[in-house]
Symmetry: C2
Subunit: 171 residues, 2 copies
């Protein structure tokens, strides 16, 4: 799928068919995510691939907006690895770029996904660390829920001219 088409038809997909996501598709998503840019190319990220139905059923306890995970075939928890940073504090940007690559890769191979936020909400961070038994140096940033979309995704263009200025902001 063309890049600009994927960017403009990537929508949050919260309803999935019962079909599983293949191991080859999971690999495609992870390769896309890990090829994102990062500060100093530190790649300060880790990926927990959640496919166990019992665990997926418990996953909505982490985030009240992640209810769709209970009926999804796949979720991927993206965490920052604070021990891997070269430039402290950039891990959120690095992991977010990785997530956006993952969402676009999913769209391009016919999967639907939704990014549900964890960090910086401390209660969600604590619940995710407990449920998935994360060590202290991994900070859960986002839970990406993935499956085969039930419907079609419409084209979106959120361009807003008032959010753009030229050269100097105040003039």
């Amino acid at each position: 799928m063309d890049t600009l088409t994927a960017i403009h038809t990537r929508r949050s997909v919260r309803s999935y068919t019962p079909e599983p996501v293949s191991e080859e598709e999971i690999q495609t998503l992870l390769e896309a995510a890990m090829t994102a840019p990062s500060a100093g190319n530190a790649q300060p990220w880790t990926f927990l691939v959640i496919t166990d139905p019992g665990l997926l059923a418990r996953t909505p306890s982490v985030n009240p907006y992640a209810g769709m995970a209970a009926k999804a075939p796949l979720a991927i928890l993206v965490c920052g690895d604070l021990t891997a940073e070269k430039y402290p504090g950039f891990w959120v940007q690095d992991c977010s770029a990785a997530i956006q690559n993952l969402l676009l890769a999913a769209r391009s191979i016919g999967l639907g996904s939704v990014w549900t936020g964890i960090h910086p909400m401390e209660d969600r961070v604590a619940k995710a660390k407990d449920l998935f038994r994360l060590p202290d140096h991994l900070i859960p940033l986002g839970l990406i829920v993935i499956g085969r979309p039930k419907g079609e995704q419409q084209h979106a263009n959120r361009f807003a001219p008032e959010k753009v200025r030229r050269n100097i902001w105040q003039d």
Copy 2:
């Protein structure tokens, strides 16, 4: 360009030909950036499009790793707009997703780009606010320098199996 090709051949490009970037291309980049997902669809971002040669020449003063801006035809400063957030604290993730869309859109239309970091380094934030005359509610996150690449971009795949686990991290 195919989405996965753009993801895997997007490399940091720091050397550009003298050709300008067209207004149509700038529009394509901004539309892609603004169609990124954001927490609560708040779209808490703004974009300063820098094309003035005198200002581009002064731009490296913001970040010691942004020297290439002095000879680039275009830079886009992506800022978080704290007044637009619905879920406070998510603006870094939202703006980073927008930047990644912008980088991939650039790659897909034959432009090269590099993401140079500003926030959370306070000295860079202060210098960018001063140079570009940003109001208090706009926080500069990243300066994206853009132009026509002088060389070819090689395929990259940074997949690292040790960064992936299944279902439970510690077991």
